[in-house]
């Protein structure tokens, strides 16, 4: 049964609901922002007091103005779009490939036994170590960066898919087989839906791996049109404010995706698959 009643307010002298809501909001904001405020405070203190010269650590105001400059002439916005395009492309291809390979081979013991240890071993090799190979195969440019992003996504996603396939309740599998589900039909109607909740974790994990691979590749393939290229340009001309600005921007994008996109996806899957009860 769903109820709209607010939680019981303990020791709240004002019974005014609006005031209570505002207070809760302020409390929530304080809980979420106190650490950021602390970092900013320390940053201002260190730079204002002159303990670290500005060319080593510019102040928050300098970083903010370099972000504003970057966006005002459209350069950073274009770079962000380019990076996000490569990220979404690489991640989507990597996820699709990993899920297909994982579902198909996860059901056939000897295939998985052969593939899994190799992929697990590859997981311990940083994806960026393959960039020289990617450059030789795909040229010094965007295709090499995309290939690295796909590969960076594929490895964790495949491992998660294998785990998801093995976590399906044997009773469910047995029931499906008893009812005559076989082959593609079995995979489409039983296996795939059954692993979706576990795959959401893999989506989040592989997204962060895709980011890392993409950023590293963009920085190394310098002259790239993405945020990594902007960061590398900043390094080459000693504009540390630009370097920090790009890092802050990447963090903000990360927070937005974590909280908004994946948070929603997770809640939706949990509701749709009945993993949380109605509140």
């Amino acid at each position: 049964v769903t109820t709209d009643a607010p939680p019981v307010q303990i020791a709240d002298p004002t019974s005014n609901r609006a005031v209570g809501a505002a207070r809760r909001l302020a409390l929530l904001a304080a809980r979420r922002l106190w650490f950021i405020a602390l970092i900013l405070g320390a940053w201002v203190l260190v730079t204002q007091a002159g303990w670290v010269p500005a060319f080593r650590l510019p102040g928050p105001a300098d970083v903010w103005s370099s972000i504003a400059d970057g966006f005002s002439d459209g350069v950073w916005f274009d770079a962000m779009l380019n990076t996000m395009r490569l990220l979404v492309q690489g991640w989507a291809i990597g996820v699709a490939a990993a899920v297909v390979v994982g579902v198909v081979t996860g059901e056939i013991g000897w295939l998985e036994d052969g593939i899994r240890p190799v992929v697990a071993g590859l997981q311990s090799v940083p994806t960026i170590a393959f960039l020289p190979l990617a450059i030789i195969w795909f040229g010094f440019g965007e295709t090499a960066i995309l290939a690295i992003t796909i590969f960076g996504t594929f490895k964790p996603m495949l491992i998660t898919t294998y785990s998801a396939v093995h976590q399906i309740s044997p009773t469910l599998l047995q029931a499906g087989r008893t009812l005559g589900a076989r082959g593609m039909f079995f995979q489409r109607t039983l296996l795939l839906p059954a692993i979706v909740p576990a795959l959401v974790l893999g989506l989040k994990l592989s997204w962060s791996f895709a980011w890392r691979a993409l950023m590293a590749a963009e920085i190394i393939v310098s002259g790239s049109a993405g945020l990594g290229g902007v960061l590398e340009l900043g390094r080459q001309i000693y504009a540390i404010d630009v370097v920090i600005g790009v890092i802050v921007l990447i963090m903000v994008i990360g927070i937005v995706f974590e909280q908004v996109v994946f948070g929603r996806l997770e809640r939706w899957v949990n509701r749709r698959w009945g993993l949380v009860g109605a509140t």
Partner: protein, 319 residues
């Protein structure tokens, strides 16, 4: 008790590791240089023991770099005290870290060529419209002279609203980049320009004396603020060793080639052919001067490219 002593041991080990990380500043003068023909005077100052002799017993350590931004970053970070580098990175450093880098003297002029991929149809700077041109790194000397050349024929880089795509490519990657059609042209310092021409991986577009009339510094000797403040005597020694090495390089160009090849071989590489060495050396002019008008043009190019935050005056980059 055992657990407590184990924890204490662990902390002691950590403390030792941390203490070991603090760089030991033993008074050794650390000087950067590139294994390029454009750094001929630096190579002679090192290999002929000129700097070691002038320093009269002070210790010197030479540190090899492959690009200006790396070398200047090392000076800014305090890893090295001084370095040979191009004036380009010095200009961007003067803007983003004012007062931290001081030019002590010039070392060589010209020493770079503009080349193009055979079949690219590029015969002149004007043909670069819509093409991809490699420079060693953003803001470096070849990048700035390229932008100056482009401005001379009314062209601009894509990042400045123009059509020429400037791509940073490391010198040792240039040949592969040209052969794989990743770039159409390049401004390459010596000996890389002569190597590309010799391998027929590229054709000459502008010879060394056609870039800013050949009258611009390609290598200068710079020092960090700490060295000038704490050991001005060492900075003076660097200047006098540099003058001697520049004079020797001008008088005895073959020696530059010989010492250069020795460095290459010691680093596990193959020595360059005599023809390559000869043409690379002929294009590079040892010279201690830093022509102010060339610096003004490079500052203007850096400004137009959006590399500068604080205004840079030529006086900030002149010895």
């Amino acid at each position: 008790l055992a657990r407590r002593s184990a924890a204490a041991g662990f902390l002691a080990a950590l403390a030792l590791i941390v203490a070991g990380c603090g760089g030991g500043d033993d008074g050794t003068l650390k000087v950067g240089y590139f294994p390029n023909i454009t750094h001929g005077p630096a190579i002679l100052a090192k290999e002929e023991g000129i700097l070691a002799r002038v320093l009269e017993g002070e210790k010197v350590e030479w540190v090899r770099f492959l690009s200006g931004p790396e070398a200047i970053t090392a000076v800014l970070a305090g890893t090295i005290d001084a370095t040979y580098t191009g004036p380009g990175p010095v200009i961007t450093a003067a803007s983003h870290a004012p007062g931290q880098i001081t030019v002590l003297a010039g070392a060589a002029h010209a020493g770079a060529v503009m080349v193009a991929r055979p079949g690219s149809g590029i015969r002149s700077v004007a043909d670069l419209a819509g093409k991809r041109v490699a420079v060693p790194s953003f803001g470096n000397t070849q990048d700035l002279t390229l932008r100056d050349d482009l401005a001379g024929v009314g062209l601009r880089a894509t990042t400045q609203g123009g059509t020429v795509r400037v791509v940073p490519v490391e010198n040792q990657e240039l040949q592969a980049a040209l052969e794989n059609d990743v770039i159409d042209a390049a401004v390459a310092p010596e000996p890389w320009g002569s190597r590309l021409l010799d391998a027929e991986a590229a054709e000459l577009v502008l010879d060394a004396d056609q870039i800013m009339g050949g009258n611009y510094p390609t290598t200068v000797l710079v020092a960090g603020a700490d060295l000038l403040r704490d050991r001005p005597d060492l900075a003076r020694a660097l200047v006098s060793a540099n003058a001697e090495a520049v004079a020797l390089a001008a008088k005895n160009p073959e020696l530059v080639g010989q010492r250069f090849n020795e460095i290459v071989v010691a680093g596990g590489g193959n020595p360059l052919k005599d023809e390559i060495l000869r043409s690379a050396i002929a294009r590079t002019l040892p010279n201690t001067s830093v022509p102010p008008d060339s610096i003004e043009r490079m500052i203007a190019a850096a400004e137009a490219a959006g590399y500068l935050r604080n205004t840079v005056r030529p006086a900030d980059v002149l010895p």
